[in-house]
Amino acid sequence: MSIETTFSDSIVFHGPLSELYQLAKEGKIKTSLQGSHTRPCKFWTATKILSGIQNSVIIAHGPSGCAFGVKKAYKLTNSRNSGSPYEAVISTNIDMKGVVYGGEKELRGAIREVDNKYRPDVIFVSTSCATGIIGDNVDAVVDSLKDEVNAEIMTIHCEGFAGEYRSGFDLVFKQLVRLMEPRDPERTAALAKSVNIVGGKMGPERTEVDTDVKELVRLVEGMGAHINSVIAGNCTLEELKNAPSVAVNCTLCLDLGYTIGKEMKETFGTPLNSTILPYGISATERWLREAAKYLGMEAEAEALIASEYGAIQQEIEDARAQLEGKLAIVEAHDAIKALSIAHMLEKDFGMRVVIYNFHPWSTEARETSIDYLLETGMDPEVLITKGTLKFGKYESMKQTEEELLAFLGSVDPVSTVYFGSSLSYPAIPVVDLNAILNRPRFGFRGSLKVAQCILTSMQYSFRPRSWLTKKMVFPEQSQGLASASSLTPKWSEEAPDCTLYAAERRKGRCMMN
């Protein structure tokens, strides 16, 4: 049996993104995640966004484990990375008695205590599975205390069973708008040259930390404008209140940024600049030009673009000359990043892109970004293999690795580049944009960084991949279930940013700066 025949047996879908999108919408391809493909629940994602608001306290109404988990993952990591003061995540510590008799009394007491002892600007009361099921009337408790406590207070209904993980992000971004104050002439005038970057998450995620966002801030300021706030990336209540009065909201993550941006547009009329993650020159130019329209700074934007692009033009053109027409396989474990990188590779470098193992589930979670790509004339190929949909982790599963290798067996290895985790093992140049040297990845400098990365990978592709790492990641007795992602939870928690690798221990500062 030839490799091609073997491989064709393992394909679930191979075609344009638009076709996959249509199949998913019509229910003709399975979009649900397997029980082993665990993602954070709605409670985690909601509290992740809330963790990015300074001097706020989250009261997780439920058993202590929920609060401890999110605090460890987000608040402590933030504290470690940014050097910001440690902020509590409170639990009402509901026990068996609370489950039987209800926990409203505990919640009432907790709200008063938190207001008194932490003196926060905002208290967010988030519901957990336990208190959601027993039916505590959290809204009534919160409403009854609104006049009594000094902090602003808001309920977030985010029981873990109440939706997919994406729903927690959307929920909070929509609700944060309620903390904002309407545009008024004075504030609008004061913030006429300011923007909000919306859809950010102040957590350990690599797309949100330090260098990428800072690069966007540098570009906005380079144009002569200001940043009012990165929402919700370490923003203050004051910034949130002023947020509707800026000239324009610019999305960071298109999908999440669109949620809050649309809400703010409908509620306050704040203009929205929503483009895909600013990976690459064309996306960055669009991001800046759209922002400039609302800032009345078109000329400044053009000058900035000319100057920034001018600084990298030669190298980018050299890179394009080497990359044009080559095949790019883009690993799709992070769907939003895969779509954005696909956009960059096709638009900036003229590569043919195949997005590998874009889980059909992602079509629901990333509708906004997919719509954007399709509307702007891009329709990359998607390849989904059986391993993606199998019980067991799909990220870097041994089966998907073998399927990838089988697929590459039928393409020209000399003119193909793989964009994904360094823990994948195709015998072609591998570009890992999470590697610590590739910062920033947004903006013009980011484009150059990515281009340099690709060229370095190509230059040294003669070196065999590390047998040591391969043996570690894909053990012989793994029954096909071994997953590199299983390696990462602890690692990602403990080494979330390249600050760890800095020669000196410089909390909150990245070695790239």
Binding site: G35, G65, A88, K117, K390, A482, P489
Partner: protein, 446 residues
Amino acid sequence: MYDELEFSHCSHSKDPIIGCALEGVANVIAGIKDVSIIIHSPQGCASTVATAFDKHEIDFTRRKVGCTRLFETDIIMGASEKLAGMIREADRTFNSKAMFIVGTCSADIIGEDIDGLCREMQPEIKARLIPVMAGGFRGDSFAGIDMGLEALLPLIPKQEIKLVNKVNLILPQSNLNPTWQADLLWVKEVLREMGVDVLSVLPHNMALEELEEAGLASANILLSHDAGYKFVRKLEERHQIPFILGDVPLPVGLSNTARWLRAVGRYFGAEEKAEEIITRGEKLVVDTLRKRALMIIPRYRNCRVALSADATLGIGMVRMLFEELEMIPELVLLHSGTQEARELLVNELNELGLTPGVAFSVDGYQLKQAISEAKTDVVIGSAWEKYMAEEAGIKTSFDLLSPTNRDVYMDRAYFGYEGMLNMLEVFGNDWERSYRSKAINWEQFA
């Protein structure tokens, strides 16, 4: 005796520093080889289970976890069929010898009959099904450890005979000691030297079948002051296996290590060997410190210390800090609060003539308050307490312990003689970092 700290504003709200019962139960299961876990829960609880596996440092190839991912309709209508489907799929895929079916908050509250379902399905499932209810509201992760160990009890058959000089080590890893694996090796090694074999380590890297032999042990040694007491008492009651060394702190520091070794020696008739290990160990420490530590130890003399630790390491450290390093434990903040740990600490403090401020089962707020108000010179804890110390204006903190040991990566023991040297190495390095010259505010000398 001690002065138990009182905190206002803490009766309804907690800033937890340990996980929930689910994490504790998962910690026990994670220590068993060739098993899989199905959690009947919304998807977020899988992160809690992953944390338990992380703490165990389980090889990722051994992580076989499935989650029923409950949603609203499941909560309303029940999800037994969904769970049954998941069990079948996991049995086919994971091919494990046993499968723990764990109900978390949601399944627990809506009353899913996991016991009944397991009984009903067992004939068609290859893996042995073991149901456990572990709603997070049933307690913290220490309580969860006790629940997980309790689930193992029925799997230990009664044995008529006891094997001489064979022990079980009860090692509930979620006592959060970051160096527990190396500590375990040290314990095994000194026991071996004293002619004592370890039958099983509950629960670490053990096959389920090993439980069949656990009943043959002539003694149980609990390597925790935070959890596991109920389990060893039940083993004593049901299997007539004595729980030994319960009245001495674990082997942390020179004096406690010697006490612990002598107690082992007395029980197993290996007093001479114990003395030999003590003499050798103390010589190692003294010789090493003579070369390396004359500049370290005098720095800390009479400095007032806030110690934030689990009881397992914390109780042992009090004597080491006071007697051997001549520091003054001003605050002892323990993460758990078993009655046994309280009694042991009282004994230690009375013997030492100390009356520090003490708090049990502390949370983040209490830690911060106590550290801020006591105005100690040094904080010994984790990276977390280090941030708190910084905010309280305390320059020196030693990042030695869990729960959030993020700045120091150690895989060496804290127990025993080399363990003490390992701790001092962290002390020395952290002290140097605290006083890097670039951090000195030169204007103060102007």
